[in-house]
C-alpha cells in the first residue's frame, strides 16, 4: 500500500503546471465513441453501438505507452491479465481474460486471422512488429457464438497499418538494459486512387540481448547463465483495391527466434528454445448478393527446437532435443447484409485444421519419443443485429455450430530408460474422437442518451481439448501425464451487464459485471501410481479429466479523465472470484475433490492507472500496474505474491520526421518471483530513435 501511495504522489507531482492549450485533443473522448471497430460483430460498428465490453488501444496510445512487447499494451484494457515474468526474454506470455486462466481460452487475431495455434492454443506475440500496428481491439467475455473455439474469455484483434502515402517508411534503433539492441525498418506505399490501386508494405525487425540470471542470487550455481535473446522477422503485405468491387490482401510473414533458458552445462548455447515461424495469409473483401463478403485463408508453419541441458538431483547429466512442427491452415468466410431496414444479418462458415508432430530425442540416453495428432474444426454461424426505437435499443442474436474432430493421434516410444519413465517401448494409435457444440448469444443495448448506454448479454464459450492432453503421454513438471483421448470440450455460459457513460466531455467511465459458469473444465488428477523418471523421488502418474464446474463472478471499471487538453488520466480496476464449485465423478480417483478451490493464474484484484501528458511534440506517460496474489497450484497450497510495477515513457518528435524516446519499465525495480521460482528482470531501461518519412 505504501508503494501505491508513492506512485499516487508521483502522479500528482507530475508537471500539471506545464499544461498548455491544445484544441485538437479536446473532443477526443467524444470522438472515441464514434470509433469504428470490426471485431465485436464482424461488421464495422461504432464503439458506442456495440452491446459488449469493448476497448480499443489506438496508434496514439501505442506510441505513448512504455512497452517492450505488444502484449504489454494489453494491460491498458481492464480485466486482461498479462503474465510475462522474464520480460522480453520470456518465450511465451500468458494473456488471460475475464477471470479465466489459460492463454488458449483467449482468442487472438491478427487482421482477423487467428493466431492461436490449434496445437496448444498458444500465441507467439513476438512475431508482430509493433511499428506495424494500427490498433488493438479487445472484446471482453465469451464470443464463441461468432468465433468458435478459443473465444471463451474474450477476443483480441491486432490490426496492422495500411500505408497511406505513395511512399512512406520508418527506421528505428533502440538500446536497452541487459545490452539489448534492436532495430526495425518499415517501408510501404499506396497508389490507391478513387479506391483503386496497389498498396504494399515491407517491414523487418531485429532484436538481441544478453539477458540476466533467472535464478535468485542465493540459488545461483555454476550452471546458471544469463538468459539471452536473438530474434528477427519480416512481414510483407501487398494488396489491390478494385474500387467498390473490393480488395485482395496478401501477407507473408517470417520470424526466427532464439531464447536462452538460463542454464548451460556443456553445450554451446545451453538450454534454449528456437522457433521459426512462417505464414502466408490472404484476404478477399468484396460484394456478393448485395452484401459484404470476406474470405480469409491462411497457412502457418511453426518449427520448434528446444535444447535442454540439466542435472538431476544426483548430478546426472541429461541432454534433450525436442522438435515440434505445428501446421495450421484454414478458410473463413463471412457475409453481411442489411436485410430489412432494422436488421443486419451476418453469416459465415469456418474451417480450420491443425497438426502437431514431433520428437523428443535424448542425446545422453537411448530414449526416443515420437508423437503426432491432428484436429479439424468446422463451424457455421449466423447473427442478426436488430435496432429498435430509432436505434436507441439494439439487439444482437447469434448462433454458431461447431464440429471438431481429433484424429491421427499416435505416440511411439523407442528404447526407453528411466530418464523418460517408460518401462518399455511401445507404439500406440489413439482412437479418433469428435465433438459438437452449439454456442448461442443474445445481447441488448439501450442508449438512454447519446452519452449513456447500458447492455445486458448472455453468451457462451467453447473450447475442444488440447492435442497434448489427448495424445501425449510423458513426463511433465508436475509428474507423468497419461494421454486421454476421451476428453470432452469445456463450455461456459456467461451473463453480463455493463455500461458506458460519457459524464462530461472530459470524463468517461465504463464498467461491467458478470457471472459465468464453466462446465467440464479439465483438471489433472493422480491415478495413485508413481513412476521412476531417474530422479531421487518417484513422479505421480496424472491424467486430465473433465471434472470441474467453475463459477466466475467478476466486475471491472475503467475511467478516462481528460484533466486538460494535455493531460489524460486512465484508470482500470478488475475483480474476479474464480472458483471450482463442483468437482468429481472421476473413475480413476473418486477421492480427489477440489470443490471450493480457486482457479490458478487468476488474480482477484488487478489495477491499472496511467497519466499521459502531451504538449506540442513532447509526450510522457507514467503508469502503474498492480496484480494481486494468485494461486500457484490447483490444491491452493501455494500463494504467489502480488506485485506492483510502475513504468514511464517520455518521447519527443522533431521536425515531424525524427522521434526519440526513453522508457523505464518497472521504475521501482520491484523484482518478483514467478510460478517457477524465477525472478523478473527488474528495472528495464530503453532508449530509441526513429526516423519517419
Amino acid at each position: 500500500m505504501t508503494r501505491i501511495l508513492k506512485v499516487a504522489f508521483l502522479i500528482l507531482a507530475f508537471p500539471i503546471a506545464a499544461i498548455a492549450q491544445e484544441n485538437d485533443t479536446v473532443t477526443k473522448l467524444r470522438v472515441s465513441l464514434e470509433e469504428v471497430v470490426v471485431t465485436a460483430t464482424r461488421t464495422e460498428r461504432r464503439l458506442q453501438d456495440i452491446a459488449a465490453r469493448v476497448s480499443v488501444i489506438n496508434r496514439d496510445e501505442i506510441e505513448q505507452i512504455p512497452f517492450s512487447n505488444i502484449d504489454d499494451l494489453l494491460k491498458l484494457s481492464a480485466n486482461v491479465n498479462v503474465n510475462r515474468s522474464w520480460g522480453i526474454f520470456s518465450k511465451n506470455s500468458s494473456v488471460t481474460m475475464h477471470g479465466l486462466p489459460g492463454s488458449a481460452r483467449t482468442l487472438v487475431l491478427a487482421d482477423g486471422f487467428p493466431k492461436n495455434k490449434i496445437g496448444g492454443g498458444s500465441v507467439n506475440w513476438h512475431n508482430i512488429n509493433p511499428d506495424n500496428l494500427e490498433r488493438i481491439e479487445v472484446i471482453q467475455g465469451p464470443a464463441s457464438a461468432l468465433y468458435g473455439n478459443n473465444a471463451m474469455g474474450g477476443v483480441i484483434n491486432l490490426i496492422s497499418r495500411k500505408p497511406a502515402k505513395p511512399f512512406e517508411g520508418s527506421l528505428k534503433v533502440l538500446y536497452g538494459s541487459y545490452n539489448t539492441l534492436g532495430t526495425s525498418a518499415r517501408i510501404g506505399g499506396s497508389q490507391v486512387k478513387d479506391h483503386q490501386g496497389l498498396y504494399w508494405s515491407v517491414d523487418g525487425f531485429y532484436r538481441k540481448g544478453d539477458g540476466y540470471y533467472l535464478d535468485p542470487p542465493e540459488f545461483l550455481d555454476p550452471t546458471d547463465v544469463k538468459t539471452y535473446l536473438k530474434e528477427y522477422g519480416t512481414n510483407i503485405m501487398t494488396g489491390y483495391a478494385f474500387g467498390k468491387a473490393g480488395s485482395v490482401d496478401l501477407y507473408l510473414d517470417y520470424y526466427n527466434e532464439l531464447r536462452g533458458a538460463g542454464r548451460q552445462i556443456h553445450v554451446e548455447g545451453g538450454s534454449f528454445e528456437a522457433t521459426v515461424t512462417s505464414s502466408v495469409r490472404t484476404k478477399y473483401s468484396g460484394r456478393l448478393a448485395g452484401g459484404d463478403l470476406s474470405v480469409l485463408a491462411w497457412y502457418m508453419n511453426e518449427d520448434y527446437h528446444g535444447q535442454k541441458e540439466s542435472l538431476n538431483e544426483t548430478n546426472e547429466y541429461r541432454l534433450l532435443d525436442s522438435y515440434t512442427l505445428k501446421q495450421d491452415q484454414g478458410v473463413w468466410t463471412s457475409w453481411s447484409k442489411k436485410i430489412l431496414p432494422d436488421h443486419h444479418l451476418t453469416a459465415g462458415t469456418e474451417w480450420k485444421s491443425g497438426s502437431v508432430s514431433g520428437q523428443d530425442l535424448y542425446a545422453t540416453s537411448t530414449d526416443e519419443i515420437r508423437f503426432g495428432s491432428r484436429m479439424d474444426i468446422a463451424g457455421v454461424f449466423v447473427q442478426d443485429e436488430i435496432s429498435f426505437r430509432n436505434e436507441k435499443l439494439r439487439a444482437v442474436a447469434g448462433l454458431r455450430a461447431d464440429w471438431s474432430r481429433f484424429h491421427d493421434g499416435f505416440q511411439t516410444i523407442n528404447e526407453p530408460t528411466s530418464v523418460t519413465g517408460f518401462t518399455e517401448g511401445f507404439s500406440e494409435n489413439f482412437d479418433p474422437n469428435r465433438w459438437f457444440a452449439l454456442s448461442p448469444k443474445l445481447s441488448l443495448q439501450y442508449s438512454f442518451t447519446p452519452v449513456i448506454k447500458a447492455y445486458i448479454a448472455a453468451g457462451t464459450g467453447y473450447i475442444p481439448p488440447d492435442l497434448k492432453d489427448l495424445s501425449q503421454t510423458g513426463k511433465i513438471n508436475k509428474g507423468f501425464r497419461l494421454a486421454n483421448p476421451n476428453l470432452k470440450p469445456e463450455t461456459l455460459i456467461n451473463y453480463e451487464t455493463g455500461y458506458s457513460w460519457l459524464i462530461t466531455e472530459r470524463l468517461k467511465m465504463s464498467g461491467s459485471y458478470y457471472y459465468s459458469v464453466g462446465y467440464n473444465f479439465q483438471y489433472m488428477i493422480g491415478t495413485g501410481d508413481s513412476i521412476d523418471t531417474g530422479g531421487s523421488s518417484l513422479k505421480p502418474v496424472l491424467v486430465s479429466e473433465n471434472l470441474a464446474r467453475v463459477r466466475i463472478l467478476g466486475a471491472d471499471l475503467t475511467v478516462r479523465w481528460m484533466i486538460s487538453p494535455s493531460l489524460i488520466l486512465d484508470g482500470g480496476y478488475s475483480w474476479n472470484d474464480s472458483k471450482i464449485v463442483k468437482f468429481g465423478n472421476s473413475e480413476i480417483n473418486p477421492e480427489k475433490d477440489l470443490t471450493g478451490k480457486y482457479m490458478i493464474e487468476v488474480s482477484p484484484n488487478q489495477f491499472y492507472s496511467g497519466l499521459t501528458f502531451r504538449h506540442r511534440n513532447l509526450s510522457a506517460n507514467l503508469n502503474a500496474n498492480y496484480v494481486g496474489h494468485q494461486w500457484f497450484d490447483d490444491e491452493n497450497t501455494i500463494l504467489l505474491d502480488d506485485y506492483f510495477v510502475v513504468n514511464f515513457r517520455i518521447s519527443q518528435t522533431f521536425r515531424k520526421h525524427y522521434r526519440i524516446w526513453f522508457d523505464i519499465q518497472n521504475l521501482l525495480n520491484n523484482v518478483y518471483i514467478d510460478r517457477k521460482g524465477q525472478v523478473s528482470p527488474g528495472r528495464y531501461l530503453t532508449a530509441g530513435v526513429q526516423f519517419l518519412w
Binding site: L171, Y232, T314, Y362, T364, S537
Partner: protein, 297 residues
C-alpha cells in the same frame, strides 16, 4: 536517401539472414583397449574372477560424444547401462567380476551430440564349469537416526565400524552407509550413502553431508525374491551373485524400510552384498538393526 538505403539494407538482412551451412559428420569410432591388463576378446573365466575391460572412443566430427551405452546379456537376460558424456575422446574402463551366468556378453557403443552411433563392439565371458562359490563375511550393524543421542548414523563396510557424525566427517573415505529418518518426503526409515541426494537439513552443521569432500556412493535394489529365512540360510556368495546388479542400475536409497526386508547393494568401490532389516524403532531419534552379508575380503 542514406536512411532509406539503410532501411532497405536492413530489410534485406532480415530476409536473408539465418542460412547456415550444413555440417557433415562421420560416425564415432569405438574400440577395445588391447594393451596389457585389459581383456579385449572372448574368454572363459572362473566365478568371481576379475577382468578389466577398456574402451576408447572418438568423435567423428566436431560434435562431442554424449552417450555410452552398455548392454549386458546374461544367459538371455538383458540389462542396460546408459552413461551421459560430453567429450570428444573417451577412455573408459570397467572392472567386471564374473558372475554366475554361464555366458555373459558385454556390448558397447557410443553416440555423439547428433545421435550418430558408432559400431557396436562386444565380448563374451563364459563361466568355467569347475567354478565354486566363494566365502562370505557377516556382520550386524545397529545405527541411530540423525537425532539419536548415542548411536552413530554412519557405517563402513570396509571395517564394519559405526561412526557418529564427527568421526564420519573425519574419515569420509571409509563411509558406505548412512541411516536416517526422513519425515518430509515420506521416505521415512532410509539407508543410503553419502553420495545420495540427502536433504541438507537432515545432517546439517559444519560436519553435515553438504560439507563433505569425499562422498562414496552405494546403490541398492530390493532382493525381491529373497525372504528373511533365505537370507539367514546364506552361507556362501551364491545368493549374493544371484541377486546382484550392475552398479549404475541400482537406487541410491533404500526407503521405507521395515523388518524382514532384504536388499542387495553394490558400492562404487565394488563391494557387493545383501542386508536384512532386523528391526526398526522410533523416528528421527530411532535405530535400525541390519545384518550384512558380503563377499569375503
Amino acid at each position: 536517401m542514406i536512411l532509406r538505403t539503410l532501411a532497405l539494407t536492413a530489410l534485406a538482412f532480415f530476409i536473408f539472414n539465418g542460412c547456415k551451412p550444413e555440417t557433415n559428420y562421420a560416425n564415432p569410432d569405438i574400440r577395445f583397449v588391447a594393451g596389457p591388463g585389459f581383456l579385449s576378446q572372448d574368454t572363459v573365466l572362473m566365478l568371481n574372477d576379475t577382468v578389466n575391460i577398456g574402451i576408447i572412443a572418438d568423435t567423428g566430427s566436431d560434435q562431442e560424444l554424449t552417450h555410452l551405452h552398455i548392454s549386458i546379456n546374461r544367459d538371455s537376460v538383458e540389462s542396460k547401462i546408459d552413461t551421459a558424456l560430453f567429450t570428444k575422446h573417451l577412455e573408459y574402463s570397467r572392472i567386471i567380476v564374473k558372475g554366475i551366468a554361464a555366458s555373459e556378453t558385454w556390448t558397447f557403443y557410443v553416440r555423439d551430440r547428433a545421435r550418430r552411433k558408432s559400431e557396436e563392439i562386444s565380448l563374451t565371458l563364459g563361466l568355467d564349469k569347475s567354478s565354486q562359490y566363494g566365502k562370505i563375511d557377516s556382520l550386524t550393524l545397529v545405527l541411530g537416526a540423525q537425532d539419536h543421542p548415542e548411536k552413530g548414523s554412519f557405517a563402513s563396510l570396509a571395517n564394519g565400524k559405526v561412526y557418529n557424525t564427527s568421526d564420519a566427517f573425519a574419515d569420509q573415505g571409509r563411509i558406505h552407509l548412512v541411516y536416517y529418518y526422513d519425515p518430509v518426503t515420506g521416505d521415512q526409515n532410509t539407508v543410503a550413502s553419502p553420495g545420495a541426494n540427502i536433504d541438507g537439513s537432515i545432517f546439517n552443521g559444519p560436519e553435515g553431508l553438504s560439507n563433505w569432500s569425499v562422498k562414496n556412493t552405494t546403490r541398492f535394489n530390493p532382493a525381491g525374491n529373497l525372504t528373511a529365512a533365505d537370507f539367514d540360510r546364506c552361507r556362501n556368495d551364491s545368493l549374493l551373485l544371484t541377486n546382484t546388479f550392475d552398479f549404475e542400475t541400482g537406487k541410491r536409497k533404500a526407503k521405507t524400510l521395515t523388518p524382514g526386508q532384504v536388499y542387495s547393494f553394490v558400492t562404487d568401490s565394488g563391494i557387493m552384498g545383501l542386508f536384512k532389516v532386523n528391526s526398526v524403532t522410533g523416528k528421527q531419534d530411532g535405530t535400525i538393526s541390519l545384518t550384512v552379508k558380503m563377499k569375503k575380503k
